[in-house]
């Protein structure tokens, strides 16, 4: 398939995954801000800015972190690329470029999301209806995934699309876990009762709360959460699950000379697959995640070099 098409499919899926995770994060942060003690509210609200790396840009446009400003900035603002509005628009732009490789169902699901997003931006979103908008973003993402799984040919177009999804997802899980675990550790020292909510927030942000309950029961502790989100293959957003998909997909993609991204992905996958919580504890969760983020970034770059690198 065309390298430029592979690139657009890859990014289209990344953007849609990003829109979904950003909606989840924002949802959880706004809820947490209500639960938290007033002096920590700002810290709660900052999480989505930290995860998306936009805290500085935020202060270019707003003077104060409030729920409404956060909603405007991360959901609707068209002045910077990281708002859900612009993320969906970028997904749609990429989809338009590979219109020829998409089924009508997939294209329509994305185009419809974009049309409704424009509508939403026009009408505006407030704190009181924000939750329903987050639900909507999640539903659109589910619909896209359903249309993709239900109607796309299982060829390289499909593989590159899924590679985009899992690269983005692995990065998000690692980032959220990294930032939120620091906050949970801090809470452990200051307000012991707060710890439960902090870890709940991590799990909700990554749609893994129910999975945790299933696996470990009610005792929320740091290492179990980390173990679940890193090492548990059955949890869809765990690093293990994502890397398993990435390594498997790279095996399936038709490949000429390019082998480097396969090697990198398989090696990182083996690392996680045969890793254990003791190793993570020894290394320190933060260091472990920083190392992981570096390596997943390398894999993403190598995929682009191996298959989409003509434009360079």
């Amino acid at each position: 398939m065309l390298s430029s098409a592979a690139s657009s499919l890859f990014w289209m899926a990344r953007y849609l995954e990003r829109a979904e995770s950003q909606a989840r994060l924002l949802d959880v942060s706004l809820t947490m801000a209500l639960i938290d003690v007033p002096e920590d509210r700002i810290e709660q609200l900052s999480v989505p800015l930290l995860v998306s790396g936009t805290r500085e840009i935020f202060f270019d446009y707003y003077t104060e972190i409030t729920p409404q400003n956060l909603i405007n900035f991360l959901l609707l603002d068209s002045r910077h690329p990281t708002s859900v509005f612009n993320i969906i628009q970028s997904a749609r732009d990429n989809a338009l470029h590979v219109r020829g490789n998409l089924s009508s169902d997939v294209w329509e699901s994305i185009n419809q999301a974009w049309l409704e997003m424009r509508e939403l931006q026009h009408r505006g979103v407030t704190e009181s209806n924000a939750s329903s908008v987050f639900d909507w973003v999640r539903e659109r993402s589910h619909l896209f995934r359903g249309a993709a799984y239900g109607t796309l040919l299982r060829n390289d177009a499909f593989h590159f699309l899924r590679l985009g999804t899992f690269i983005e997802r692995a990065e998000t899980t690692a980032r959220v876990l990294d930032i939120r675990h620091v906050m949970a550790m801090k809470a452990e020292q200051d307000h012991a009762t707060q710890v439960f909510f902090e870890w709940t927030a991590v799990l909700h942000s990554l749609a893994a709360f129910e999975a945790y309950q299933n696996t470990y029961g009610h005792n929320l502790d740091a290492m179990s959460v980390a173990e679940l989100l890193i090492l548990e293959p059955a949890v869809p957003r765990s690093l293990h699950a994502c890397l398993g998909e990435i390594a498997g997909l790279l095996e399936q993609v038709e490949s000429g000379e390019a082998q480097e991204s396969r090697r990198l992905a398989s090696s990182l996958f083996a690392n996680i697959r045969f890793g254990n919580r003791d190793y993570i504890a020894e290394r320190g969760l933060h260091n472990y995640l920083v190392d992981f983020l570096e390596r997943i970034q390398l894999i993403a770059n190598q995929i682009q070099k191996d298959y989409m690198g003509w434009q360079g």
Binding site: L2, D93, G100, S255, W310
Partner: protein, 477 residues
């Protein structure tokens, strides 16, 4: 629902001159009379939503980028009887065959010029003539693989050819989507009538493109200017329907006079390019050096015979409005047949006698740029203000060779949904003619309709809409 009857002196596709419904349209009339306004309004909204969701929008040049607009779709189909279509089909086949012969001739033997049918100046000094195409051997001697011929029906009931489009004719996706939309919204209409199918057009197009190369299983791609082109939707639609790659200039490169596309597994050679980019933008080394849309070296590869372009380079000389008056003569000259389809009488302002006539009768005439397209830069005498008339008078005097003039034709009308109900509106017809191993077309084509009362401009860029076009297989509907 009430149907307004047409004005005197016009041909209407639904009513005859005594305001009786034409026999082939009786079922359509019944359907209209039985439909209530609410239902129709609801269906129109549904169609809008569906088109919007499919992303069938187009960009208007001169407006902000990213302002997608829908081409208005009218729910009342335009009906063509089987016998009318038979005549049209035979005439179109003849016309396109002669035009292909003409293109071969003016790039090889110049017989038609030598015979004095058309002057050397008009062919060789035409800005669209490409000397680089001389003596280039093309497979099957074909230049125009995909033609869109614009026709109108005059008040004498005859079809006239208004314009030949032999470069990159567009609009076929609307023909296909309009049919799909009608079948979705009104399945009951199709259950009771024998409307000839058009859905196989992409298959015929694919067959035509593969036949453009002499290789047994050629790699065919569709070359688009990209997402911001007004016809991008159509390019993506056709590529998908034919199962070929949709490429932009940056996806291709030329090495050793061969064209390759950049794929995830390395370079892959391309044999046929269905290009939807104008000649001048195809290759920055040969045409416009600033073109970012084309592929450097493409023209050399083409000249070497390693790649086929559909349509060929240099076709513009044959669909130019100053060459148009000679098409009937071409048919006589190359095929030794009488033209089946009529031409609109045309004054060529390059001739002093014609120019004088045009200046004297400017108010009755339509003046067009010989090289214009899309309904831009034309004057409709009877509807023009004094200022516009004066402007064109001076333009004609300054550059007479750039203009032609034609009588104001009374385009036929067809009932159309408008704000005040169902009223007659003017329309034209663009059938698509495919030339490969043989000449093929699907019955009908794209019907464009001017939505403004009395307007004769059907171009979508100027507020025109489209209709589904029905050719009836058994004469009844």
């Amino acid at each position: 629902m009430l149907i307004q009857t047409p004005a005197e002196g016009l041909y209407d596709e639904l009513f005859d001159k005594n305001n009786r419904v034409r026999p082939q349209c009786r079922m359509l009339e019944q359907w209209l009379l039985n439909s209530n306004e609410e239902l129709i309004a609801e269906k129109r909204r549904e169609a809008d939503v569906l088109f919007q969701r499919l992303g069938i929008t187009f960009n208007v040049y001169g407006e902000d980028q990213g302002t997608d607009r829908l081409i208005p779709f009218d729910l009342i189909p335009r009906v063509i009887s089987a016998s009318d279509w038979h005549t049209l089909q035979t005439g179109l086949r003849q016309r396109v065959q002669a035009l292909n012969r003409f293109l071969y001739d003016i790039y090889h033997d110049y017989d038609i010029v030598k015979a004095g049918v058309i002057s050397a100046e008009q062919v060789f000094a035409n800005p669209q003539y490409q000397p680089g195409m001389q003596n280039l051997k093309l497979p099957r001697n074909l230049y125009c693989h995909i033609a869109g011929i614009d026709l109108i029906r005059h008040n004498d009931g005859n079809f006239y050819v208004l314009e030949d489009n032999l470069r990159c004719p567009s609009g076929v996706s609307y023909m296909l989507e309009n049919r799909r939309m009608m079948m979705r919204l009104f399945p009951e209409l199709f259950a009771h009538s024998a409307v000839a199918p058009v859905e196989h057009y992409p298959n015929l197009l694919g067959e035509t493109l593969r036949a453009a190369s002499l290789k047994p299983d050629p790699t065919v791609v569709l070359l688009t200017p990209g997402r911001f082109n007004s016809a991008y939707f159509e390019h993506a639609f056709l590529a998908r329907q034919m199962g070929i790659e949709l490429v932009e200039g940056a996806d291709l490169f030329v090495a050793h006079n061969k064209v390759y596309m950049k794929t995830t597994t390395g370079p892959q050679q391309v044999d046929v390019i269905y290009r939807r980019i104008d000649d001048d933008f195809l290759d920055p080394l040969a045409g416009n050096p600033d073109s970012m849309l084309g592929v450097a070296g493409l023209y050399a590869a083409y000249r070497t015979g390693n790649v086929v372009l559909t349509n060929a380079v240099g076709n513009g000389v044959a669909d130019d409005k100053s060459i148009y008056p000679y098409v009937p003569d071409m048919i006589r000259f190359y095929l030794d047949e009488e033209p089946i389809l009529k031409n609109v009488p045309t004054w060529q302002c390059r001739n002093p006698k014609d120019l004088r006539y045009v200046l004297e009768h400017l108010q009755e005439l339509v003046v067009k740029e010989a090289q214009g397209a899309g309904g831009y830069g034309m004057l409709i005498g009877p509807k023009a203000s004094k200022k516009e008339l004066d402007l064109f008078r001076s333009l004609l005097k300054a550059r007479p060779q750039d203009y032609i003039a034609q009588p104001t034709l009374s385009l036929s009308t067809c009932p159309t949904f408008v704000d005040e109900g169902v009223a007659p509106r003017h329309l034209d017809l663009r059938p698509f003619v495919l030339s490969g191993k043989k000449i093929q077309m699907v019955p009908g084509g794209l019907t464009r309709v001017a939505l403004e009362k009395g307007s004769l401009v059907v171009n979508s860029s100027q507020g025109g809409g489209t209709k589904d076009t029905w050719v009836l297989e058994d004469g009844q509907c």
